[in-house]
Symmetry: none
Subunit: 257 residues, 2 copies
Amino acid sequence: MIPKDHPRYKSLILRERLVEGYNMGVTALQGLIAHGRGEMFDYILGEKSHNFALKAERAGVALMLISKRPVISVNGNTAVLVPKELAELSKILNAPLEVNIFHFSKERVCKIKSYLERFGAEVLANCDAELKGIRHARRIVDKRGIYIADTVLVPLEDGDRCEILKKRYGKKVIAIDLNPLSRTAMKADITIVDNVVRAIPNMIKFAKELKKKDRKELVEIVKSYDNRKILAKAIETVRDNLTNKIKNLNLKDPCTF
Amino acid sequence: MIPKDHPRYKSLILRERLVEGYNMGVTALQGLIAHGRGEMFDYILGEKSHNFALKAERAGVALMLISKRPVISVNGNTAVLVPKELAELSKILNAPLEVNIFHFSKERVCKIKSYLERFGAEVLANCDAELKGIRHARRIVDKRGIYIADTVLVPLEDGDRCEILKKRYGKKVIAIDLNPLSRTAMKADITIVDNVVRAIPNMIKFAKELKKKDRKELVEIVKSYDNRKILAKAIETVRDNLTNKIKNLNLKDPCTF
C-alpha cells in the first residue's frame, strides 16, 4: 500500500492503475515503459497544467464542437487512466470513443471496449477499415469512426498515424502528449502538452463552458489559436524549469563529510 | 529477437531483461514504469557516462572504502540489470548487498536474494529491523546491514528513505539516479547521475584503482567533492541537450484551419 502522505502519491497511484490495467489485459507491457517516459516530462514540467496546455485544451474543445464528426481515439493506457472522464467528455462533445492500439490483438481491443462501456461510454471498435500509409496496427480503424471523422482527438499517440491522418486524409488532429519534442507534438494541429489525467478533466470543464457559445465564437477561438507559439512556450517552459532548478540548488546546504 | 544492428539495441535489451525479471518474480511491474522514466533521462543525456557521473562514481567508491560498514542496497530493477557487476563490486568494496524494495513481499525479497546469490554475492535479506520515519515497505531492513551501516549505496532509490537515512540516522548516502531533479538526487551526499548499467562497471574500475591508495588520499577525494556542483552540471547538461534538440526542430509549417 502506498501511504497517502507519500510526496509521490499521485504519480505512484497512476502507476498502480496501469499495473491493474495490465493485469486486466487492457494495458500492454510496453505501455508501462511508455508511461514512464511521459512521467519524466511531467516531472520537468512540474506536474501541472500550464497556460500553454489550458489554451490548447480550450481550442481543442472548440474545434471538436465545430466539427461534423469528431472522434476520440483511445489506447490501453488512456483507457485505464481516465475511463470515467473519457466517457463524460465523449457525451458532452457528442464524439464517440474509438479503440485504436499499437500492440494489437482483437482480444485486447474487446477488453478495452468493454472496460470503457462499464463507465457508460459509446465505444467504436469494429476494426473494419484500414488507413493507407501506415504499416503497423494503428492503421486498423472503425468505418463509422476515425475512418470518416473530420477531427480526431488522440491522447498518447503514435507519430506515424498522426501524420497520415493529417496529410493523407486531411483530418484535423488534436494530440495530448507530454513530450513537446515528439513527432506527434510537432505534427498535430493542436498539441496539448499535459498529462491526460489533467487534460481530459480540463477539457470537460471547457466543453461545459463552450457548449453555450455560438458557432461563430468557437470558430474565432480556433482561428486565433497558434500551435507553433504554444509548442514554443511548452519547450521554453521545460528549459526554464530546468534552469530554475539549477538556481535553487545553490541555496542548499553544502554536503559535509 | 532484437537484431544486433538495431539502433536502439542496448536499450531494448535492458527492457527485455526487465521483462524477464518480471517473469521470474524479481522485478515489479511498477519497476518497468520507473525504468521508462530513467530511459528518457538517459536518452536526453546521450546515454553516456558524463564527467559529472565519473567524478561522483569515483568519490562514491572512495567514501565506501573509508567507511566502517558500507552496504549496497538492491531492488528488483538493479538486481536484473547488473547482478554480476553488483556481486563483483560488493566483493571488492567488502560491502554486502541488501535487498530493499518498495513493492514488498517476502517472496519477492527471497527471489531477489537467491537470484543475486547465483552470481556469488553475499546478500542480506533478513527483514528483521525497521527504520523509523518511513511508512512504506522500504523501512524494512536487515539488522546486520542498512540498519547499522554508516554508508549506503542506493541505486534507483526512493526519495523518502534517502532523506531518513541521512537526517534521522546520520548515514552517508550515495545515490545512483538518472533523474538529477529527484528528491533522492537532491538529498544524497553523492549523486551519480548515470545509468546503473554503466555506473556499477565504472565503480568496479575505480574500486580497483582506489583500493591501492592510502586512507588519507581517499579522505581527500571525498572532502574535495562538491555534490552541488555535480548536480548543477548534470541538470545543465539535461537542459542544454534539450535546448539543442529544440534548435534542430523546424517549427515552420504553420497550422491552418
